[in-house]
């Protein structure tokens, strides 16, 4: 994979040949203000519905191994 990525990067690096010193980077493609929704709480999904998709729920939360556990 390393040689494939190098090959791709070699191609991509051609953009460094362009003079872009006075060009602003794109932040929005469409010239329109980003509308914000009202900051009001709305009902969210029930906890049990969300946890139904979790691989290892524990009680009423998502179960994770301890960050400090010894590597297996």
């Amino acid at each position: 994979m390393a040689s494939e990525l190098s090959h791709v990067l070699d191609h991509i690096e051609k953009i460094s040949e362009l003079d872009l010193s006075d060009v602003p980077p794109t932040s929005h493609v469409v010239d329109a203000a980003t509308p914000l929704r009202r900051d009001e709480p709305e009902p969210c999904l029930p906890r049990e519905v969300v946890l139904a998709g979790a691989p290892e729920p524990v009680g009423d939360g998502f179960g994770v191994p301890s960050p400090g556990a010894a590597p297996a």
């Binding site: 791709v8 362009l18 872009l20 980077p25 691989p55 998502f62 301890s66 590597p71």
Partner: protein, 477 residues
């Protein structure tokens, strides 16, 4: 009867349902049976029956005509896996806004369609669930990443479908399968519930038999959604096209995207040129134009999209949904084992590329530069649209290629997007329509216009579609 039903376009079938001449249950069942016996691996899941929640088909704008939906659209209670083993069997607790809108408009879900994993690919070979095949030649790819949607519509397994387009993922498979594919203006359709690849580029759009169906379906997908802050109010109603001429249309042909530099095959170029002649006969004023930075679009795209993907895909960590490997290990080991097992090769490649492009010390040279190239490309297009209404290019430099032909060379695969990526980077709408065959395989003709020029684009594509008279459907019997 089934054979006759599947010859109808979606608009024709819907009109018959609304006129009470066709039973929508019969229509659904005809397609359900075809989708369930799919030999193209176009579908990853097929519905048993229309969902009970929809409106009365005879009173709904889409007339009960079922729609195939790309796997990456979250669909409540239905497998939504984005073509990835890391989401195998995942059934989301909510539906994407676009899916909800189509259901409400009377297009029940027919099934979920195969795709390249997380929409990363141009052949559907990167699907975690096996490649989809092209109905014109099953030894060939249907394009991608919305290859399942394109193949299903081309083979008459679905009356119409939706997909997503990040750098060409609707238009390129539409071209390779000989159907219509439309990428809207960025923000026209809500991205809420679309499993994200590159958020500043991803857009949902239709894949259909003809331009009228594309406009009809798009008209029900569009609109501002409070749940997606980048979605916008579409400035005018979406109209069904009726134009029979191209008088008044000024059509620019960008030299950088139509010549041999982009590797456009001679057969593709011939079909494209024949369509331009037809456009001229229909009254269009056609002239060459220049997009000087277009040859750099692919490089910019393959920095920006992987960079955004590397951030978006961080959420697949084995905690909240999807695959988890070695949950008894420590947290970091669990993350890395889960991602190593769940992601395919191309996804890993792009995460690494994107992480590299965003890394300290390289950010300006890669991501920062790419975003400046993006500005230049948008400026080039803006300048062209001062002189022209639309631009035209081939959609893909080549026709459908054989399975495996480009898998070992990522750069060759990325070149599929050569003609489609500039429009994605600029956020402008573009449509691919079939314009004939080259060695028995479909060729796509791409038209693009300024932001929110959808109605003009549909009119031009409709007039040209009629003049081309393409009816190259592979067997739908």
């Amino acid at each position: 009867m089934t054979a006759a039903l599947v010859q109808l376009t979606a608009a024709q079938a819907g009109a018959r349902v609304r006129a009470r001449e066709l039973d929508p249950r019969e229509l659904f069942e005809a397609y359900r049976q075809r989708a369930a016996t799919d030999e193209l691996n176009a579908f990853t899941w097929v519905a048993e029956a229309p969902a009970a929640a929809g409106p009365s088909p005879a009173d709904a704008p889409l007339g009960g005509v079922p729609v195939a939906v790309k796997d990456l659209f979250c669909t409540e209670g239905v497998p939504s896996q984005a073509g990835s083993r890391i989401l195998e069997g995942y059934r989301p607790p909510y539906s994407a806004t676009v899916v909800e809108r189509l259901t409400r408009a009377g297009a029940p879900l027919l099934g979920k369609t195969n795709q390249d994993e997380f929409a990363m690919g141009s052949s559907t070979e990167n699907s975690g669930f096996g490649p989809a095949r092209n109905p014109w030649d099953r030894a060939r790819v249907p394009g991608g990443s919305s290859g399942g949607s394109a193949a299903a519509v081309a083979a008459g397994l679905a009356p119409w479908a939706i997909g997503t387009d990040t750098g060409g993922s609707i238009r390129q498979p539409a071209a390779l399968c000989g159907v219509v594919g439309f990428k809207p203006t960025y923000g026209a359709c809500s991205r809420y519930g679309m499993i994200a690849f590159a958020s500043s580029l991803d857009q949902a759009g239709p894949l259909t038999r003809d331009v009228t169906d594309a406009a009809l379906l798009f008209g029900q997908m569009v609109g501002r959604d409070p749940r997606d802050s980048t979605s916008l109010k579409f400035p005018e109603p979406v109209r069904l096209p009726h134009a029979d001429s191209l008088r008044g249309f000024r059509l620019g042909i960008p030299e950088e995207l139509t010549g041999t530099e982009g590797g456009v095959e001679p057969g593709v170029r011939d079909a494209f040129d024949r369509s331009l002649e037809l456009a001229e006969k229909l009254g269009a004023a056609i002239e060459p134009c220049r997009l000087p930075h277009a040859p750099h679009a692919l490089s910019a795209y393959y920095l920006i999209a992987p960079a955004e993907a590397s951030a978006n895909l961080a959420r697949f960590d084995g905690v909240r949904y999807g695959l988890r490997v070695d949950g008894e290990a420590d947290l970091l080991t669990m993350y890395s084992r889960t991602r190593a097992a769940g992601f395919g090769l191309e996804v890993k490649r792009r995460i690494m590329l994107g992480t590299y492009a965003l890394s300290s010390g390289y950010y300006e040279a890669y991501y920062g530069t790419a975003q400046k190239v993006r500005t230049r490309i948008a400026q080039d297009l803006h300048a062209v649209f001062e002189r022209f209404d639309l631009i035209a290019t081939p959609t893909s430099p080549w026709t459908a290629f054989e399975l495996g032909a480009k898998l070992d060379d990522p750069l060759q695969m990325y070149l599929n997007d050569f003609c489609t990526v500039p429009m994605s980077l600029a956020g402008i709408p573009a449509i691919s329509i079939p314009c004939g065959l080259s060695d028995g395989l479909p060729v796509g003709f791409q038209l693009a216009g300024p932001a929110f020029s959808e109605n003009r684009l549909f009119e031009a594509a409709f007039a040209l579609e009629r003049a081309i008279g393409y009816d190259g459907s592979p067997a739908r019997g």
